[in-house]
């Protein structure tokens, strides 16, 4: 968006603009009560107060005005939380996990990954017990909804093809022949599939983003929607102060951090994430007699080469259910923070019930 010169000039323009803004705001002040027109601030789960705003990065302003700095500079901005070297507590691990994955954004270093758009380069899935070679595998996630849509197209050994769109949105699970089926009358077919709700929720909350979000929510004693948008360390401090009870636990196995946390929306299910250098090697979900393992590797910034954003995702993902590999996919490209990922529930699916 902004090269150095444009940014520097922009900052100068900003100075003028801000002065006008302030002037305009002062003029517009009127005699309104505080907060009129402000975005609503919902109470946080557990009654904790909203997290404080991080002060602006003072060093950054000087640099912009000065027209640039060298590589490796720019470390002067203070964060809301800086992990202590060697610290092995839960707050530090959760902060570093999100920090490592590039999920902490803005000067407040809040966890702001709302969406994902993932395209696989290839892989294999099991369909009715038969291996099917993927020709298309696209996952769109909206962690706020929470929603998860997987577009699958694959070919069996006998050259027959399989196609499905697996969708999860809130408490509903259904299959679509095209994404967004039945949202427009006569376009596509949506088939309720409530039996897959648990499986899809597990897939969502054991995913690379989902796992850390679930672990933070558990540690904060909140829902994933409530814990979204906060600096994990600041949030956990506030929740601890408010007396919230953590359901996420941590142990160390040598250099590996092992976190155990509940799977949102799947009562009784437990996830265990094993991290190496704050990136998960695996997330293992136990739900009753079922054990689903998600093995992750080749962590990298898989985002569009035209817009690398230092946000990591797993390049390889293997899903094994009760010992059998059911999905194995390799990343082609991701768009973390995709602007438009929606999963409205079709009327027919709502009517069919949860």
């Amino acid at each position: 968006m902004c090269d150095r010169r444009a940014l520097a000039t922009g900052v100068l323009a900003l100075a003028v603009a801000v002065s006008q803004l302030e002037y305009g705001s002062a003029q517009a002040a009127g005699a309104a009560p505080q907060g009129q027109g402000a975005a609503p601030q919902a109470p946080r789960g557990g009654g904790a107060p909203p997290a404080p705003q991080t002060p602006p990065a003072g060093g950054a302003q000087g640099r912009a005005g000065g027209g640039g700095g060298g590589g490796g500079a720019g470390r002067g901005a203070a964060g809301a939380f800086t992990p202590t070297d060697g610290a092995k507590d839960l707050k530090t691990v959760l902060f570093n996990w999100t920090w490592r994955m590039g999920m902490l954004r803005s000067g407040a270093e809040s966890e702001l990954v709302k969406t994902l758009d993932y395209h696989a380069a290839g892989g294999t899935i099991q369909v009715n017990g038969q291996p099917c070679t993927l020709t298309k595998y696209r996952v769109q996630a909206n962690y706020q909804v929470p929603g998860w849509r997987t577009q699958i197209e694959c070919t069996f050994k006998n050259k027959q093809t399989y196609k499905n769109v697996e969708t999860l949105s809130g408490d509903y699970a259904w299959d679509e022949d095209i994404p967004g089926a039945e949202l427009v009358a006569g376009q596509g077919k949506a088939t309720p599939n409530p039996a897959s709700l648990v499986e899809r929720r597990i897939r969502l909350w054991a995913s690379p983003h989902g796992a850390v979000k679930a672990a933070i929510a558990g540690a904060a004693g909140m829902s994933t929607l409530e814990s979204f948008g906060e600096n994990p360390a600041v949030l956990l401090d506030a929740q601890a102060k408010a007396g919230a009870k953590s359901t996420t636990t941590l142990e160390w196995q040598g250099e590996k951090a092992v976190l155990t946390f509940p799977v949102p929306g799947v009562p009784g299910a437990t996830a265990v994430a094993t991290l190496t250098n704050y990136l998960p090697d695996s997330v293992v979900v136990t739900n009753g007699a079922d054990k689903t393992e998600f093995i992750y590797g080749k962590w990298a910034d898989w985002n569009n080469p035209l817009f690398k954003i230092d946000a990591l995702y797993a390049g390889t993902m293997v899903e094994r259910k009760n010992g059998m590999v059911v999905r194995s996919v390799n990343a082609k490209v991701t768009e973390i923070g995709q602007i438009y990922v929606v999963m409205p529930v079709p009327a027919s699916v709502q009517k069919a019930g949860k």
Partner: protein, 303 residues
């Protein structure tokens, strides 16, 4: 020396201001609630001035119109300033003041809001692609007006029994856009189909009263503008219905966008409340803007 296009400079400044602006919104800064020592009086308890015809007089300078998105999907989320320190995991060439380009897609209210317009599924990928190239294709980048409804709420209104003139502040979309105006007859006549064929950015608007609420009904839009940052396109069949309800020194501003070509259902924007300013707001003329780098855009950085 290579010239920085007005559009690109505007976009850079817009992004900076957008973040600051969102912070101000969160603090009530655009909400007319800054106070500044002013007495804390509920503006809706004050008398409502009326025109000779008995209808509420909307004349005045108004603040607090806010933006089209409010980040409603992340209630209480802490979106900080635009400069983020480099993490220990980023490349050594990382600079905190360039992190803002990477972070903007995560911070924008147009992304955090859950009340997004629902596009027909056949347009979902188009929407995504337009966002990806927003650095090139956002109408702001080509010096076009923001249009209605992206222009936001009017900052100053002149109102008579027979017409209403609305003046819009420049930079209303996080510093994007320029000062604009609309003049609307309030004669109660329906849209003239011939005039509706002349597409404009602000639309062809007719006004009428529903009780004490002024209803502005606009059609005849150019499809070149967006509803908001991030590729929220619309067709030339868009219809925008705005409602202004003045109570005391406050206007409740409600907007609904209908577009049967691209939307599944009408998009109801968040209600906004505009507060009367104590002094007249002077709004500058449309600024200079020269688009000169459109073909040179080679990244998909968002703004």
């Amino acid at each position: 020396m290579k010239r920085i296009s007005g559009a690109r400079l505007l976009a850079c400044t817009a992004a900076i201001l957008a973040v600051i602006g969102s912070s101000l919104v969160a603090q009530g800064g655009f909400g007319g609630g800054r106070g500044g020592g002013a007495p804390q009086v509920d503006p809706t308890t004050l008398p409502t001035p009326r025109l000779a015809n008995g209808k509420p007089d909307l004349t005045g300078s108004w603040g607090g119109g806010g933006w089209n998105f409010t980040g409603s999907g992340a209630p209480g989320a802490t979106v900080g300033g635009m400069f983020r320190r480099c993490t220990p995991f980023q490349a050594k060439t990382c600079m905190e003041w360039t992190n803002q380009s990477q972070d903007w897609p995560f911070m924008s209210t147009a992304r955090l809001d859950m009340r997004l317009p629902l596009y027909k599924p056949e347009h979902w990928d188009k929407m995504i692609e337009m966002d990806q190239w927003s650095n090139r294709d956002d109408p702001v980048m080509t010096c076009l007006p923001l249009g209605i409804p992206r222009q936001g709420a009017p900052a100053r209104i002149f109102h008579t029994d027979t017409d209403i003139t609305m003046i819009y502040r420049g930079g209303s979309d996080g510093a994007g856009g320029y000062a604009e105006h609309r003049m609307i007859a309030l004669d109660g006549k329906p849209h003239d189909p011939r005039r509706a064929a002349n597409y404009t950015y602000m639309g062809y608007t007719v006004g009428k009263w529903e009780g004490d609420t002024l209803v502005l009904d606009s059609i005849g839009f150019s499809d070149e503008t967006w509803l908001a940052r991030g590729g929220y396109f619309h067709s030339d069949q868009m219809r925008v219905v705005e409602k202004f309800t003045r109570t005391g020194n406050q206007i409740l501003y409600q907007v609904t966008v209908e577009d049967p070509v691209v939307l599944v259902e009408p998009w109801v924007m968040p209600d906004r409340r505009m507060n009367l300013a104590p002094n007249n707001t002077i709004i500058g003329e449309r600024g200079s803007c020269t688009e000169s780098e459109h073909k040179e855009v080679s990244t998909q950085m968002r703004h």
